[in-house]
């Protein structure tokens, strides 16, 4: 067993020794290569078998067993497809915390992969981590998708918009809606949806733009027409709103909302005393009408503290017949009085939208 010390004298890399070691090395390398190739094929095939079993079990609504099969597939061959399938199965079986680890690993190899980002965004949103969710959604939107990328990106953006709206982050939601509209320039149904959402989010001018774009693509789109009417109405552009709503109703948009908006628009247009195109007499008549409506509203609200003097003044104003040259000052006085009376309404549940809009219009002018 002990090495002879005489070896020290003949120690060295002899040519024969080197050649024999080299031959053995080449043989071992060749053998290992063959074995490793077989192993690799076998591994892929077994992993694929497990994966198929997992898919079958998932289709038969056996998520627990499917997860096991996916785990086995992943253990044999660490592959992105299996990892994603496992993560999805875990999410479906209500174990998102287990899924997020696998999804994060997927992102480690490809941070721009769309689907893992989307799934992680959903998990983060569910856990109330809004900032993280928004980040993941953004990555999903601009990420890589193997299939129909446009469709998936759109869907991801819609989810993000939904999240932002539910979290009351309206400004970002509006931004996302506008970006989305740029993503689908000729797609009328999507643009229509974007317009409606913008309107709901309190962005009527952007909504009006979008509805106009839809109407350019589909001239007779009554929904877009109605949307445009509502947007103009929200922007206090009542003449344009009236025209658009009328057109929408004529084209079949006869739902309650449109009709109601149309009625209010008509009422506002009939009441507004400060429109430039009206004659002084008409403006005076409308100022009296405004006074009458305000007094009626306050009476309906049963405001106990209403000073009688104001109502008396209103009655007096209604009965007055001013001279033509005093008409402007009478109009102003009536409007002022009507505003004072309207202000007495306070938090009264009774409301008159038209009246409120007229006063808003007067104040803005």
């Amino acid at each position: 067993m002990a090495i002879d010390s005489s070896r020290e004298t003949r120690s060295g890399f002899g040519t024969r020794s080197l050649a024999s070691v080299f031959v053995v090395l080449v043989a071992l390398f060749g053998g290992t290569t063959l074995l490793a190739n077989w192993y690799s094929r076998e591994r892929l095939s077994r992993a694929s078998d497990y994966f198929k079993v997992g898919q079958r079990l998932e289709a038969h609504n056996k998520p627990g067993e499917a997860i096991e099969a996916y785990r086995n597939a992943l253990e044999i061959s660490p592959n992105s497809e299996y990892r994603l399938a496992l993560a999805q199965a875990l999410i479906h079986s209500g174990r998102p915390e287990g899924a997020s680890a696998y999804l994060t690993e997927l992102l480690r190899s490809d941070i721009a992969s769309g689907e893992p980002n989307l799934l992680l965004a959903r998990i983060a949103a569910k856990e109330g981590r809004i900032d993280a969710a928004v980040n993941y959604y953004q990555r999903a939107i601009y990420g890589y998708w193997p299939g129909d990328a446009q469709k998936n990106r759109l869907a991801a953006r819609w989810e993000l918009i939904g999240l932002l709206e539910s979290a009351h982050i309206q400004k970002q939601a509006t931004g996302q809606l506008l970006e989305l509209s740029e993503q689908v320039p000729g797609d009328a149904p999507v643009l229509l949806k974007v317009g409606k959402q913008l309107l709901a989010n309190g962005a009527p001018s952007q909504a009006a733009e979008i509805f106009r774009e839809v109407l350019k693509i589909q001239t007779g789109n009554s929904e877009a027409q109605a949307g445009l009417g509502e947007a103009e109405f929200a922007l206090a552009q009542y003449v344009e709103a009236q025209a658009a709503l009328r057109k929408a109703m004529r084209e079949g948009q006869n739902n309650e909302e449109v009709r109601r908006a149309y009625e209010i628009v008509n009422e506002v247009l009939a009441l507004d005393p400060v429109r430039q195109e009206l004659s002084p007499i008409e403006r005076y008549r409308r100022s009296l009408l405004l006074l009458e409506h305000s007094a009626a509203l306050v009476s309906a609200c049963h405001v106990e503290s209403t000073p009688n003097t104001l109502l008396d003044e209103a009655k007096q104003a209604e009965n007055e017949r001013p001279h033509a040259r005093d008409l402007e000052s009478a109009i102003d006085a009536n409007i002022h009085l009507a505003q004072e009376i309207y202000a007495l309404k306070g938090n009264c549940a009774q409301s008159d939208q038209a009246l409120a809009r007229v006063f808003a219009s007067i104040n803005s002018k």
């Binding site: 067993m1 020290e8 070691v21």
Partner: protein
């Protein structure tokens, strides 16, 4: 014209020295070991696939019987064909260094390969790392013999191969290097370290070439969520430490008890252990084989904390049975498994009850993995770096250091004999414990030095004046310039006096050779080498090297080691003799 013609044969290539050849051989060892471990890995996986796993399921009887049958085949192979492959790979590699001059029989490589592939692939609860380490050492030893290495180099070759084997098995070259340094050679010298690193790296490259670069585990990202979490990690360290001690003691007792059984039982105990593994595998298949798949699942939050602790307990039990029954295979993977599950179990419990935010269970699994390893093998550096290497996460290093160090300290405190020393002793080999070697306190110059003589003479002092002082001790210290001391003997001075040179200065009469200088922190071993033929040496301060703070003589060193100085011993021997003579005369 002919004179200027270029001849290839005229080129003079520098011949590589033995050190350089050894480094080249280390690369070759790494490649061979890597290739062998790739084949070993494939063999284990193939046996597991065709034996235990099937996408469409296996019958329970088959699952229960397979580990037992595999253990029987493996033990028969070792008993009748490859007796050299019996025993622990780490112990055999250490034995190769300290007992057999680096010789590991090549039959052990074949034996380990076949027996362990069958045993581990068949589902017995043991791991492939220790056999890989042994195979690497065997390959290295064989190559050393082929290239006729000197005895000194042969002694170093086994650990080089061991590092290559371990690096290939774990796919973690840093940990492999550290383990071999920490547990097998205990030598950080450049030559050995360079060879070990080269072999480990080449082996890891070969494995990655054939099996892909993915690490042993896919570790999820995590972060330290709250500083108080470190207490949970410390708790994992405490649990890992105590449980590792209990585990080692159980192995010690079980192996002692089984050793008392008749020799024929060696053939039946491994199948019996395999049968129990198979039975446990019906309910907890994760405990079968090395268990890396289960660790990976635990890292991904697959199990609840109760299941994790159950898995840890059952794995420790079945590993205890397999290892005590001497079923071929190693202990590395099972200790990682048990530690991972203990860590995960404690972490999972903390997630529910800890008052502050905690990390995902995977983080605790990862930290626990190294903890039990550190406790059982007492290789804290290896365990820390292994966790770091498999996780590739810097954040993990702090919790890992805390828990592993605690586990190591507890294990060291409660278990006197390290694991491999215990196993070696059971196998009848008394190998040095490297932990003890590392921690042995060296005696230093400060332990032996005595106060400097009161008078130190300048070189200009007359001979007669120095002689008076030199007569008392036989020598005198002379200084020619600051910080340079020499010795003159009384004999030399007397000769000079007799020659009528008594009034001359010393420097003119005797040659004053400066003495080598010692420092108080030098080991006595180093001092002895310098002492040579000088009767004593001066000790000076490192801060003020011109100041003499003491002297050290051979007798002082003897005294420091507790050895009676030869002259005193001789005097004592003469003493009773003289007393006897006196009493006889009386």
């Amino acid at each position: 014209m002919n004179n200027t013609r270029f001849h290839l044969s005229s080129l003079q290539f520098p011949k590589p020295g033995e050190g350089q050849r050894f480094l080249l051989l280390s690369i070759l060892i790494g490649i061979f070991s890597g290739l062998l471990v790739v084949c070993f890995h494939i063999a284990i996986d193939s046996i597991t696939w065709y034996g235990l796993e099937n996408p469409n399921g296996r019958s329970r009887i088959f699952l229960v019987a397979l580990p037992a049958v595999a253990a029987l085949v493996a033990v028969v192979l070792i008993r009748f064909w490859f007796p050299g492959a019996k025993g622990s790979g780490v112990v055999d590699t250490k034995a190769a260094i300290y007992i057999s001059d680096g010789h590991v029989p090549f039959s052990a490589v074949f034996g380990k390969f076949l027996a362990c592939a069958i045993s581990i692939g068949g589902g017995n609860s043991l791991g492939p790392e220790d056999p890989s380490l042994h195979m690497g050492a065997g390959v290295a030893s064989q190559l050393g013999r082929v290239f006729h290495l000197s005895r000194d180099k042969m002694r170093l070759i086994a650990p080089v191969g061991a590092a290559a084997g371990l690096a290939a098995a774990f796919n973690t070259p840093i940990s492999a290097v550290l383990f071999v340094i920490e547990e097998i050679v205990a030598d950080w010298s450049g030559g050995v370290l360079g060879s070990i690193v080269l072999a480990a790296v080449s082996a890891a490259v070969v494995v990655r070439w054939f099996l892909g670069g993915h690490p042993l585990f896919t570790v999820p990202d995590f972060e330290l969520t709250h500083p108080s979490e470190l207490l949970v990690y410390a708790l994992i360290g405490v649990a890992g430490g105590f449980l590792s001690v209990a585990f080692i003691r159980a192995i010690e007792k079980m192996r002692r008890a089984l050793a008392r059984l008749p020799k024929q039982s060696e053939l039946f105990l491994p199948p019996l252990a395999g049968l129990i593994v198979g039975l446990c595998g019906i309910w907890l298949p994760q405990v079968m084989g090395a268990g890396y798949g289960a660790i990976d699942s635990a890292l991904h939050d697959r199990f609840a904390w109760k299941i994790l602790l159950l898995l840890a307990g059952v794995k420790m039990l079945v590993t205890l049975l397999c290892f005590s029954a001497k079923t071929p295979g190693g202990m590395f993977a099972p200790t990682l498994f048990a530690g991972a599950m203990i860590g995960g179990g404690i972490g999972g419990f903390a997630q529910l009850h800890w008052p502050f935010p905690t990390s995902q269970t995977g983080a605790y699994v990862l930290v626990g993995m190294g903890t039990f390893f550190a406790g059982v093998f007492r290789a804290p550096m290896t365990s820390i770096f292994m966790t770091f290497e498999v996780s590739a996460s810097y954040v993990i290093i702090l919790p890992v250091m805390i828990s592993n160090t605690i586990a190591y300290l507890i294990s060291r405190q409660l278990q006197k004999t390290p694991f491999f020393t215990m196993i070696a002793a059971e196998e009848g080999q008394y190998l040095p414990s490297l932990e003890e070697q590392r921690e042995a306190t060296d005696l230093r110059v400060e332990n032996a030095m005595t106060a400097p003589p009161k008078s130190i003479f300048a070189a200009t002092t007359p001979v007669a004046q120095v002689l008076a002082a030199a007569r008392r001790s036989g020598f005198a210290i002379v200084t020619r310039r600051e910080g340079e001391w020499s010795i003159v003997s009384a004999k030399e001075l007397e000769s000079a006096l007799e020659a009528g040179l008594g009034d001359r200065p010393l420097s003119q009469v005797v040659s004053l050779e400066p003495l080598p200088r010692l420092y108080r922190d030098l080991t006595l071993d180093a001092a002895l080498k310098l002492l040579g033929s000088h009767p004593f040496l001066p000790v000076s301060s490192r801060r003020r090297p011109f100041r003499l703070i003491g002297t050290v003589a051979l007798d002082d060193i003897h005294r420091a080691y507790g050895v009676r100085p030869p002259q005193a011993a001789a005097r004592q021997q003469e003493e009773p003799l003289r007393n006897t003579t006196l009493s006889t005369a009386e």
